[in-house]
C-alpha cells in the first residue's frame, strides 16, 4: 500500500516528534523518497508543496539537490504559488557553482518583462541574491528598464538589484550611473535609500564616479537636512529619529564623498554639526545615526571644532550604560588614536575604567586602547592600572597585556630601576604568558644597569625565594644570582630592605630550582650555570657546588649532562682558568632592531609572532665553555644562532673585550630621499635586521629647511597585498622650520615572499597656511630592501 505523502505541517510535526537522530533520519528518508517519486510522476499541481517540504528538510541539513530541476519547473509555471516557492527554492538550493542556475535566466527575463509587480519582485529578489556575473550581464538592460518604470514597488527592488549587478560585474556601472541623477529626486524612502546605496557602490569602485557624484553633495545635504528637521513621519521613524536607515546611508555616502575633498567637506560641515547635536540619543536608533556621523566627521576634512565634538561624543558613548555603545566607542577611538592622539588622551580615565568591564570583548578593546594611550607623561599611572588589570584579567588577554606593558615600559621607562621593577612585577604576575624574549631583554637590561646590580639581585632573590614556578622569572633570577651573587651576600643596599643572606641559602635555593619538577630544562640550565659561576663569587669552599655538578654529569637530560660534564672538567683539569672564564659579563650592545612593535590601531591582534629573540647572555657564556670539550654543541635552547668553536676561541683569548655578536652586522642600505617640496624633505633609511630576513625597517625622517613650520603632518603608507605593514606612531606632528628637530616615524614591513617592494606614501600637512596632500609612489627602492 502506498502511504500518502504528508502535508508540510504534518511532516514538520513528525520530524519534531522524532526522539532520536536516527528516527528523524528515517522519517526524512521516507518522505524524500515520496518527494522524489512525486517529482517524477506526481501531480504538477502539488509540486510546490513537495518542494516546500524539501526545503524544510534542507534547512535541517539533509541533501536536497534533486529538487533543483523542480525549482526551474515551478519558476516557469504561470501560477503565482508555484513561482513563489520555486524562486525561494532557487535562492536556497541553487548557487553560482551549479550549472542549473543559468537555466533560470530565461525565466527571470520573462518574469521581469511581464506586468505583474509581485512577480517582477520575485524575479528581482532572486537575481539580486544568487545572480551570477553571467546572469547579471544578460539581464542588465531588463533591470535598467525597470529603474524608470512608474511603480515604486518594482523600482526600489530594481535599484538594489543594480547594486548587486555592479558588485558582480563592475563594468555595468556605465549603465547604472546615468539614472542616478533622476532617482535622487525620489520622495519614496525605499527608492531613495536604494539610490544612495547604488551611488555609494559606484563611488567606491571608480574614482571617476566619485568625482562625478561630488557634485551632488549639496543635494544630499539638503535631503538629510529635510529628514532631520521636518517633523517625523510615523511610518519611517524609530524612537523619534526620522528613518535612521536612510540617515545612516546618506552619512556614509557623505563620508566617501568628503574624504580628501575640501569643498565637499565644507559643504557638509554645518549639517554634520547639526545632526551631531540634535539627534535624540535615548535609544539605539539615535545612537546609530550619531555613530555614523562621528565616523564621517573623523574621515573627512572637517574643522577642528567638529573633530573635537566627535571625539567628545565618543567619550560620552564610553559612559553609556549600553554595552554595545561602549563597544563601538572603544573601537572607533582605537581607530583614531594615531591621528587625533591628544583628543583621545582626554578620555583616558574613562578608557581605563573600561578595563574593569566584565565582558571580554569590551575589556580587550579597552586594553588595546589603553596601551595605545601610554606616553611618557602617564606611563607610571597607566602601568599601575595595567598591572592591576593583568592580575585579574581573563587568561586569553594575559599574553597581550603582558607584552603591552613590557613594550610600554621599554618605550617610556622614566628610570632604569622603574623599568626593572615593572618587568619584575609582570614576570611575577603573568610569567607564563610573556614572550620568549622577555627573559633576554631583562637580563640585558639588568646587565647594562651597573648601579642597579645589587638592587636587582636582591629583588630577584626575594622573588625567587617566594616562588620558583614562574619560569621566566626563575631564569632571570638564576642568571642574576649567578652573575652578581657576591653583591647579594655583601648585605647592604640602600634601596631594598636589608637582607641577610647566607651562602648556604643561595646554594640551597639554586639546588631547589634544579630539582623542582616545575622547572623547564632551560631553567635548569640557567640554574646549573649560575651555581657554577657562584663557585668563583662565593668565599666558601666549593664542595657543595662540585657535588651538585658531578651529580648532574649523569643526568638523563642531554643538555644538563653536557653542561655538568663541562663544568666538572673545569673544576678538575682547568681550574686555573675557571676564574677568568666565569668572570662577570661585560655589557653587550643591544642590537638596534629589536624594538617591539606597536600595533596599528586597526590590527587588533596583539599576539603576533615575535621577532627573532636576542640571544640570552647566558648562552654566550656557554658558548665560551663549549670550547673546552671541543664540542661545537648541538642547538641548545634558547640561543637561536650558534657560533663555530673557531670564532669563540679567538674571542676567548681576547677577554675581557667585547663578546662576539653571533650574527653578521646588517648590510647597510643607502638612504633615499623620496620627497621634497618647498623646503620639506622626506628621507627614508632602511635596516634589514639579520636573523629576520623577511623584515625591513624603514625610518621616515621629515626635515624642514623652510622658514615656516610644517604642522598637522601625517604620513601614511601602503604596500602591496602580500606584504604586512605596521606604522608606529610618529615622534610628532610638527616639523619645525629652519631644519629643527626632524619628525621620525618607523615602518615595519614583513615580506615573507621576498616580492619586489613597492611603497606608496601619502602625506597631509599644513605649510605656509595651505593644506597640502601628496600621494606618491616611492621609486628607486634599492634592491637590498627586499631581496
Amino acid at each position: 500500500m502506498v502511504v500518502p505523502s504528508l502535508k508540510l505541517q504534518d511532516l514538520i510535526e513528525e520530524i519534531r516528534g522524532a526522539k532520536t537522530q536516527a528516527q528523524e533520519r528515517e522519517v526524512i528518508q521516507k518522505e524524500c523518497a515520496h518527494i522524489r517519486a512525486s517529482f517524477r510522476d506526481g501531480d504538477p499541481l502539488h509540486r510546490h508543496r513537495q518542494l516546500a517540504k524539501l526545503l524544510y528538510v534542507h534547512m535541517l541539513g539533509y541533501p536536497a539537490h534533486f529538487g533543483q530541476m523542480e525549482c526551474l519547473k515551478l519558476i516557469a509555471s504561470p501560477r503565482f504559488t508555484d513561482k513563489r516557492v520555486g524562486y525561494l527554492g532557487a535562492m536556497l538550493l541553487l548557487d553560482e557553482r551549479q550549472d542549473a542556475h543559468l537555466l533560470i535566466t530565461n525565466s527571470i527575463k520573462n518574469d521581469l518583462n511581464q506586468g505583474i509587480q509581485v512577480v517582477q519582485g520575485l524575479a528581482l529578489c532572486t537575481l539580486s541574491t544568487v545572480g551570477s556575473a553571467e546572469m547579471c550581464r544578460d539581464l542588465a538592460t531588463e533591470v535598467e528598464k525597470l529603474l524608470l518604470q512608474p511603480g515604486s514597488y518594482v523600482r526600489k527592488k530594481a535599484v538594489l538589484t543594480a547594486v548587486h549587478m555592479i558588485r558582480k560585474v563592475p563594468e555595468l556601472s556605465n549603465i547604472f550611473l546615468p539614472p542616478c541623477a533622476q532617482l535622487l529626486h525620489e520622495r519614496h524612502h525605499g527608492i531613495l535609500l536604494g539610490t544612495i546605496t547604488l551611488i555609494t557602490e559606484l563611488c567606491e569602485r571608480s574614482p571617476a564616479a566619485l568625482k562625478h557624484f561630488q557634485k551632488v553633495v549639496p543635494q544630499l545635504v539638503q535631503i538629510l537636512r529635510t529628514l532631520v528637521t521636518t517633523g517625523y513621519s510615523t511610518e519611517h521613524s524609530i524612537s523619534g529619529v526620522s528613518d535612521p536607515f536612510l540617515q545612516v546611508q546618506i552619512l556614509r555616502l557623505l563620508r566617501i564623498l568628503g574624504q580628501n575633498h575640501e569643498e565637499s567637506s565644507e559643504t557638509m560641515n554645518d549639517l554634520l554639526a547639526q545632526v551631531a547635536t540634535n539627534t535624540d540619543t535615548s535609544r539605539n536608533a539615535g545612537n546609530a545615526v550619531l555613530f555614523e556621523t562621528v565616523l564621517t566627521i573623523m574621515d573627512i576634512r572637517s574643522a577642528t571644532g567638529l573633530r573635537v565634538l566627535a571625539v567628545n561624543i565618543l567619550g560620552r558613548f564610553l559612559l553609556n550604560s549600553d554595552k554595545n555603545i561602549r563597544y563601538v566607542a572603544l573601537t572607533s577611538l582605537l581607530r583614531m588614536v594615531q591621528s587625533d592622539h591628544s583628543a583621545v588622551q582626554r578620555h583616558r580615565p574613562t578608557v581605563v575604567e573600561c578595563l574593569r568591564e566584565v565582558d571580554a570583548s569590551l575589556s580587550r578593546r579597552a586594553l588595546e586602547l589603553s596601551l595605545a594611550l601610554v606616553n611618557s607623561s602617564n606611563v607610571r599611572a597607566m602601568t599601575q592600572e595595567l598591572q592591576s588589570f593583568l592580575e585579574s584579567c581573563s587568561p586569553d588577554l594575559r599574553a597581550d597585556c603582558a607584552s603591552g606593558i613590557l613594550l610600554a615600559a621599554e618605550r617610556f621607562a622614566p628610570t632604569k630601576r622603574w623599568h626593572i621593577d615593572t618587568i619584575l612585577r609582570v614576570l611575577t604576575t603573568a610569567g607564563t604568558h610573556v614572550r620568549d624574549d622577555a627573559v633576554a631583554n631583562l637580563t640585558q637590561l639588568i646587565g647594562g644597569a651597573q648601579e642597579l646590580h645589587a638592587y636587582s639581585v636582591r629583588r630577584l632573590y626575594s622573588a625567587l625565594a617566594e616562588d620558583i614556578s614562574q619560569q621566566p622569572l626563575v631564569q632571570v633570577a638564576a642568571w642574576c644570582i649567578g652573575e652578581y651573587g657576591d653583591l647579594l651576600l655583601e648585605g647592604s643596599c640602600e634601596e631594598t630592605e636589608p637582607l641577610q643572606v647566607e651562602e648556604e641559602d643561595v646554594l640551597a635555593l639554586l639546588e631547589k630550582v634544579l630539582q623542582s619538577h616545575m622547572s623547564l630544562p632551560a631553567t635548569r640550565g640557567y640554574a646549573l650555570t649560575a651555581l657554577m659561576k657562584l663557585s668563583t663569587r662565593l668565599r666558601g669552599d666549593n664542595n657543595r657546588i662540585r657535588q651538585v655538578v658531578s651529580i648532574y654529569g649523569s643526568c638523563l637530560d642531554m643538555e644538563l649532562q653536557q653542561r655538568a660534564v663541562e663544568y666538572n672538567t673545569l673544576f678538575r683539569k682547568y681550574d686555573h682558568m675557571r676564574a677568568a672564564i666565569l668572570e662577570k659579563m661585560p655589557l653587550v650592545e643591544r642590537g638596534g632592531t629589536q624594538d617591539e612593535e606597536i600595533k596599528e590601531s586597526k590590527e587588533a591582534q596583539l599576539s603576533e609572532a615575535s621577532l627573532v629573540p636576542t640571544e640570552p647572555q647566558a648562552s654566550e657564556l656557554l658558548d665560551l665553555l663549549d670550547l673546552l670539550d671541543g664540542t661545537s654543541g648541538a642547538a641548545q635552547p634558547p640561543p637561536p644562532l650558534e657560533p663555530s668553536p673557531g670564532d669563540v676561541l679567538v674571542h676567548l683569548l681576547d677577554l675581557p673585550c667585547d663578546l662576539p655578536s653571533a650574527s653578521p652586522p646588517p648590510a647597510s642600505i643607502p638612504n633615499l630621499r623620496v620627497f621634497e617640496r618647498e623646503g620639506l624633505q622626506l628621507n627614508l633609511s632602511f635596516v634589514r635586521p639579520p636573523g629576520t630576513p623577511a623584515l625591513l625597517l624603514i625610518t621616515i625622517t621629515a626635515i624642514n629647511t623652510s622658514e615656516a613650520d610644517v604642522i598637522h603632518f601625517i604620513c601614511q603608507a601602503a604596500v602591496p597585498k602580500s606584504f604586512q605593514l605596521q606604522l608606529q606612531a610618529p615622534s610628532g606632528d610638527t616639523v619645525p622650520a629652519h631644519s629643527g628637530l626632524p619628525v621620525t616615524q618607523l615602518l615595519r614591513i614583513l615580506n615573507p615572499n621576498k616580492a619586489p617592494l613597492r611603497l606608496k606614501l601619502r602625506l597631509t600637512y599644513n605649510h605656509f597656511g595651505q593644506s597640502v596632500q601628496e600621494i606618491f609612489e616611492v621609486n628607486n627602492l634599492p634592491m637590498e630592501t627586499w631581496q
Binding site: M59, F80, L124, S132, E235, V248, V328
Partner: protein, 144 residues
Amino acid sequence: MQFMLLFSRQGKLRLQKWYVPLSDKEKKKITRELVQTVLARKPKMCSFLEWRDLKIVYKRYASLYFCCAIEDQDNELITLEIIHRYVELLDKYFGSVCELDIIFNFEKAYFILDEFLLGGEVQETSKKNVLKAIEQADLLQEVS
C-alpha cells in the same frame, strides 16, 4: 550584509539567508562554527563580536538567536535596528510571533525578509509598506 542566520538555543537552524555565493559545504561549516561561538557567549555580553574577518551582530529574542554578518565598514548599531525591525515585522504578521511560528511557516519568514532586505541591503524602511506587500502577495497566492 553577507548573511543572516536564525537559530534556536539548541543550535537548530530556523532560517538562513546568504547574500554571498558559497558552496553548501562552506555554508554548513560557517553555520556550525558561528552557532557554536554565539551560543558560548554569556547573556550579559555585548552584541558584537569579531569572527574571521567579519563583524557579527547578534541578538536573542526569546528562544531564537538572530545573527548577522556584516562587513568592516558597516554600522553595527544600525544592524541591530535591522534585526529589530525584522522581528517587529514577523511579530506584526504572525501576531505575537514565537519560534514555532517561524518553524511551521518558514517560507513566510523568508518572504517577509525578502520584502525588507534585498541583496543584503535595506529596501524598504516603512513597516507599513512591507506588510502591505506581503498581504498582496498572500492574496495573489490564494487566488492562483
